[in-house]
């Protein structure tokens, strides 16, 4: 036992396991994700509502005006949302394949996707 931190052996094992799992998921992310993302997909309750081009700048009202999507400099972000917590608005702009911004109260998902990954999508879902 390490007297300085008070952490026991099993604690360290737990920490190691968590870090390993985190790294594994990062590797999976890098493996599946990556560049070539060019489409912004807006889903409401899991159903694809709209698709936008990531290279085309603009502001779009989505889900009947509850959220406003901003596309600028090849990145997508949520400009406005009518929910109280504003978590999606505070989220960083997304640009990599399979990154997403989610507005839970309105059940809105904004997802980045590359045009070539459709096949893979069909398999994984």
């Amino acid at each position: 036992m390490d007297m300085k931190t008070g952490l026991k052996k099993k604690d360290w094992v737990l920490i190691m396991i968590i870090i390993c799992v985190a790294w594994l998921t990062v590797l999976v992310h890098i493996f599946i994700g990556g560049k070539g993302a060019n489409r912004v997909i807006v889903k409401i309750e899991g159903a694809i509502q709209d698709t936008y081009n990531l290279s085309k700048e603009g502001e779009y009202e989505i889900n009947g005006g509850t959220n406003v999507l901003l596309i600028r400099n090849g990145k997508a972000s949520m400009l406005e949302a009518d929910c109280p917590d504003q978590l999606c608005v505070h989220q960083k702009p997304i640009s990599l394949n399979r990154e997403s911004i989610i507005c839970l109260p309105n059940k809105v998902v904004v997802e980045i996707e590359s045009g070539t990954s459709r096949e893979f999508d069909a398999v994984t879902r």
Binding site: T5, G6, L7, K8, K9, K10, D11, L14, I15, I18, I19, V21, A22, W23, T25, V26, H29, G33, K43, E45, G46, P84, D85, L87, C88, H90, Q91, K92, R98, E99, S100, I102, L104, P105, K107, V108, V109, E111, T124, R125
Partner: protein
């Protein structure tokens, strides 16, 4: 027994205050759902000093009360899923033995985030949230460690609380 009820009341009030304090801190790390979980200090305290049953009861009471007071219908569901899963993991590790308060709290922090993520996946019906997993795991680990250190210090000073 009367003492336990009184302590339970005090802990409920404390957990609520911590929940409130947390809503005052504008934490935005660019990751949804990431927060310190101050009220978890109290949950850990109750788990160690009063027992598993009391900790579950406090978890549910705390989430419902703070949800109605400071949150909304959604925050209640997420917090409940996170809270129950987190407490289950903590109770299991504590019973298992060999873990310090910090280790137990780390598991609690990590599973709290996993529980919330699972509900998020169900609600928005997408698997893309799974890419938050590494961030949420590491974040849960660090917040859990901080909460664990704080709870450990408090436990050392609350030795007479067993009856």
């Amino acid at each position: 027994m009367r003492g336990r009820v009184a302590y339970f009341g005090v802990f409920t009030a404390l957990a609520l205050i911590f929940s409130y304090v947390e809503t005052l801190i504008p934490f935005h790390f660019g990751i949804p759902g990431m927060k310190l979980g101050l009220a978890n200090i109290i949950i850990v305290l109750v788990l160690y000093r009063l027992g598993v049953k009391e900790a579950y009861l406090l978890s549910v009471v705390r989430v419902l009360l703070s949800g109605f007071l400071f949150g909304n219908y959604f925050s209640i569901i997420y917090s409940l899923a996170g809270g129950i899963l987190s407490l289950s993991a903590m109770a299991l590790l504590k019973r298992n033995g060999g873990f310090s308060v910090m280790g137990v709290s780390i598991a609690g922090g990590v599973f709290h985030n996993i529980g919330q993520l699972a509900v998020a996946m169900l609600v928005v019906e997408t698997f893309s949230v799974i890419y938050y997993v590494p961030v949420l795991l590491v974040a849960g680990m660090f917040t859990g460690l901080l909460i664990g250190i704080a709870a450990n210090e408090m436990l050392k000073r609350l030795v007479n609380l067993n009856d």
